[in-house]
Amino acid sequence: MAELEEQNATRKPRQPTAWSALVWAHLVWAHLAKDLRIELRSREAVQSMLFFALLVVVLFSMAFDPTAAMAREIAAGVLCVATLFASVSMLNQAWAREMRHQVLDALRMTPSDGAALFLAKTLANFLFVTAVQGVLAPVFFIMYNLHPSGDAWLLLAVIPLGTWALVVNGTFFAALSMRSRNRELLLPLILFPIFLPALLAMVLSVKTLLNGDGSDPHLLWMKMLVAYDILFTTIGLLLFDVVLGAE
């Protein structure tokens, strides 16, 4: 254990030059390309997520039987929660895939740092969730009879920001809970409390945009979402090696 730490210590310090940044970007791309290729061939994650999210939307509309005015009030929340539940099922799979045939151990042995792996995994998951939302959103607008009356184009900024907040924490904590007993159970238990501020910010900004009621004129919640994303992405990148190397 101590020897491993020493190896890590001698391996880490590198001068941040343009060349090493390029190498790092290449590493991220290698991980990302692998994940995208697997997904393109199997389509496991996107298909199961899409169907799951669709089910949640249908379940909610059955449970609440929303009228047009009410639909606009709850639509943001339903879309966020549908995405949330669907992504949790996918995030567990994202690392479970690496556990088969000890791929994760092999990745730990490569002389690259964990942050690249983490960023690539997050980007891949982000693309999958965004793809699902891209299909889901039109269906959603039709089924809930939505007519946005605010600056609807800002939704194109808010929803990816919220998705990134979910995926960056989700990928991190999925890797963390992989190392415990009953891992599938643990991920939502850890992820949801951490993600709650972002969910709140996302729901409130989407609601403002759909309603156009000017309840948040300075887009304070959206700015908070940006700050949240920057903060948690940074910590995730910094601490991922610790989680990956936890013995």
Binding site: A2, P193, A246
Partner: protein
């Protein structure tokens, strides 16, 4: 002998402080001009809220030290881990007191038990994060669990300043801070201030005593676990 004295004397002093704080809050301090006697819950709600930040800070510092020491000095890292565990447990208890006394106070004063404003929500989130921290410690085992828990604790610690700033940044249902909120803040009545001060002291002494006990129990448990592991290695 000395140890026994400490174990008897300190709890007695702490119990005396708690009783004195209760007397000050319930009998000495005057009724609030606006809210009447219900205001006395302030003397429990606010000290507990302040102190739960202290215990969560102990948890965060312990976690960072654990991560820093775990490769070099295992014994010291284990001690840091014991402190961070105890900090989280006592902090969750104090945070629970805040979340219980808050609605009891809110019901007569605001007319509602609970509202989803920034301060209340972030306090609830804080509580949920540290409960999930304690759950993680249940679900995993050994030094691996300690590392993972320490990482989660750092995420919790980042939520703490957001929570603290919540009622300074956003207009909230929750009142603005009484202390350090602006030129107008601060308690004017010396008897109220005294009651508040005694209660902060009493709850701090009580919490720290439980914290130290919990740390010493955890240290013993670590010693037992270590001895069991060594015996198992020797048997092979």
């Amino acid at each position: 002998m000395m140890k026994k004295l400490v174990f008897v004397a300190i709890p007695l002093v702490v119990a005396g402080l708690m009783a004195w704080g209760f007397y000050q809050a319930m009998y000495v301090a005057p009724d609030d001009a606006m809210q009447g006697p219900i205001f006395r819950i302030f003397y429990y709600h606010v000290p507990n809220a302040m102190l739960c930040y202290l215990f969560f800070s102990i948890n965060a510092v312990g976690s960072v030290l654990y991560l820093a020491w775990r490769g070099r000095n295992f014994a010291r890292a284990q001690a840091a881990d014991a402190w961070s565990l105890a900090g989280a447990e006592v902090g969750v208890v104090y945070c629970s007191v805040v979340l219980i006394t808050g609605p009891i106070w809110g019901r007569p004063v605001w007319g509602i038990w609970w509202t989803w404003d920034a301060r209340l929500t972030t306090t609830l989130i804080l509580w949920l994060i540290y409960v999930s921290y304690l759950l993680l410690r249940r679900f995993a085992a050994g030094p691996e669990m300690r590392t993972l828990a320490a990482v989660l604790s750092i995420f919790g610690a980042i939520d703490m300043p957001i929570n603290y700033l919540a009622n300074r940044l956003w207009r909230t249902q929750h009142p603005a801070p009484v202390f350090g909120g602006g030129p107008d803040s601060g308690m004017k009545d010396p008897q109220m201030l005294a009651a508040f001060g005694w209660n902060v002291l009493a709850w701090a002494a009580w919490g720290l005593m439980i914290l130290v006990w919990r740390v010493s129990i955890e240290r013993r448990q670590q010693g037992i676990d270590g001895a069991v592991a060594t015996a198992a290695l020797a048997a092979d």
